[in-house]
Amino acid sequence: MTPDARPYAAWRSLLPAALLVVVAGAQVALARTAALSPWKGGGFGMFSTTDDSGRRHVRVFVSAHDRSEEVGIAPSLEDAARRAAVLPADRELSRLARRVVEREGRYQRPVDTVRIEAWRIEYAPGTLAATSRLIRDYVYRVDATPASRP
């Protein structure tokens, strides 16, 4: 009898793989519906696509009564920015936006809205010509509920 066929191994041996399948299924769903990078999230999509974290980035724009400008990603924002680029969902984007508002507040710079663009690099079939494509445009209002454009 082979090890596979022994009945006593049942639930203990199946539980870890069952967890893997559930998490991987959720990862596929997130990649399809929330633009999660296929490289991340436990779905084993690494080395399958150029849509990795290194080819994604976010741009952050702040505006207030007397200002409207793009702000750079400061070291204190890098972690939140990386998470938002890999998974540009409301939760990650609003987290980054709140960090931006906090940081601007530390420098006494007013912020009414934070707009975040999530971008990825795509390569054309055949020629490999590279273009940047906007995958999410998100608006966070400091004193109201966040609004989002598709």
Binding site: P3, R6, A9, L20
Partner: protein, 293 residues
Amino acid sequence: MWTRLLHPAHDADGVPDSVLTLTAIILLLRPLDVWWLASFALAAACLSLVFRAVRRTPATWLLLAVLVAARIVAVWPLADNHIYLLAYWCLAIGLALTSPLSAATLSASSRWLLGAAFAMAVLWKALLSPDYVDGRFFRVTLLTDDRFADASLVFGGLSRDQMAENRAFLEPLPEGAALLHPPPFVEPPRLRAFAAAATWGGLALEALVALLFLIPASERVQPARHAALLAFCATTYAVAPVAGFGWLLATMGLAHCRPSQRVLRGSYVGVFILILLYTEMPWTAVLADLTAR
């Protein structure tokens, strides 16, 4: 039931110590990069290497599974896939050590984990990612990913200047924009062949491993499983920069061996060391310097 988790497994023919020690070594070689988790995980790994009783106690591995899972949550969604596999593997060890026939339980766990992980990898490459099967992924990655650059110079026949020009070509432009004088793009036939071999060879080998581990075992399937997994580890991690994944696969393959398969078990330990050497010896960089154009 609960006290069983805190006591070493009493199993004369149980999970081989080599599987447990190699897993602890993986945790030491690639520490979790969240300090409040890493310290506990490193301590547990060290203790399990030193003390057999700690190594064979289910609670040790269940605790490690929780710590690794907590790391995944703490850095969500940035964790790499082998960290997920490490969490499942620690859980599998912990559960197996509570079983009266722990070796067979862990052998079955490793089979299902390997089959499922490889099946998902094949699903992404073959069906869900349009830029894999048309060759774009490796054509771009061999040129833009620093970790593959030396292999591209050696096997692709590129010069360093051509590599730099190609990287400039692959810099993105805004949608709809075009350069008046775009940088040249040089893709020698050897580089295209290397990209095609990586694309289709990788997919074929992964599909074979998935298939062999998911179909029921027979006297012919068992050796084929090990041959495919060993071939995957020995070839892929010569170039692919994810030793942590390779070590896990080798350790899981080892757990799937029967006690009597001494040569096979030695082969998995050998592959574990081979991946270590691939990682620590910049052999493609040395070759690239020797063959510099």
